[in-house]
Symmetry: C2
Subunit: 188 residues, 2 copies
């Protein structure tokens, strides 16, 4: 993992390839290295110099995206901010990262890969926030927190499908949390 420091231009190439891979593969998961290289403005051989296999590229892509997602969660201060505030900030942050790396984050995580560990860590932090929310009376005592977390993820994922929809992350986040906590039923 600890690759010797790359030269500046090489690092730029790697980033360009990863971003191009996200764009191209999102539209066609079976796209060729050639297509990815073209989208990155790079020769195909350059990709092969940095990533041995197609799979190596994919794993690097997944790991990169997972790191950004973990950062997005951390930025919301899940351990210290008031639960409702943390949930809102985290949701808004995650929405942005997920919309930019939808393909990479939807990848089946290799159990021994870096991405899997990161996702597990994210799950932990998410559960922490939910527990704190429950302690504050925001979530029902009897609720199955694992199910709540899965519903939360699903709501985030669904929010991203709305294309030209209201693209403001804060508005979307508000709706997600409102739906998560209160559902669609009539308000008192």
């Amino acid at each position: 993992m600890a690759e010797r420091t790359l030269r500046a231009d090489a690092e730029r190439s790697v980033r360009a390839v990863l971003e191009a891979a996200e764009r191209v593969l999102a539209e066609d998961p079976g796209a060729s290295m050639e297509q990815i290289a073209a989208a990155a403005g790079v020769a195909r051989t350059t990709i092969h110099r940095r990533f041995a296999n197609r799979q190596a590229l994919i794993e690097a892509l997944a790991a990169s995206a997972a790191r950004q997602l973990a950062q997005a969660v951390d930025d919301g201060r899940p351990d210290t901010a008031p639960p409702l505030v943390a949930m809102h900030r985290i949701t808004a942050n995650v929405l942005q990262v997920k919309s930019a790396w939808a393909f990479a984050l939807g990848l089946p995580a290799d159990p021994n890969g870096e991405a899997a560990a990161l996702h597990q860590d994210i799950n932990r932090r998410c559960t922490v926030v939910l527990k704190r929310a429950r302690a504050d009376g925001l979530i029902d005592e009897a609720a199955d927190l694992d199910w709540v977390r899965r519903v939360y993820y699903a709501l985030i994922g669904e929010s991203l499908h709305g294309d030209a929809d209201n693209a403001d992350p804060d508005t979307l986040a508000a709706r997600i949390i409102d739906t998560l906590l209160h559902g669609a039923g009539p308000r008192p």
Copy 2:
């Protein structure tokens, strides 16, 4: 569309191929025709006799699955049964179909294909049920029904990810509808 009546064994082959395609492609969307043929217990050439292209096979798969999904919705009597009953029955039915044809139903629908029309029809029926539920006071007057429908779909999709989970469709359906209507917040 109106293919001349196939002989009984031919029809069996087609079914076997579609079921095998669902199984194989769900695990590896890039799997070869050879793998699908093997899983179907059929020679690769037989597939090519019934489906000109790989794409033709995929479209047929999507259409077949969409038909079953539409049937599952219809079986819940969305127009006549009491909204809550219809929602529960439809959800349970859909869960079963979706778990059996997850890959095919997740396929990007060709706008001019049969599958797209069916999905549109399903959306319509779903909206009808939701409107009836709102008229009965089950859903808030101010709720955005389009969002509610999308959340409903997302909850169904999420429920299928739980593998060896509680596999009883009725239990899962009950949780889905409860979450959709009330969320995770504290109960009165």
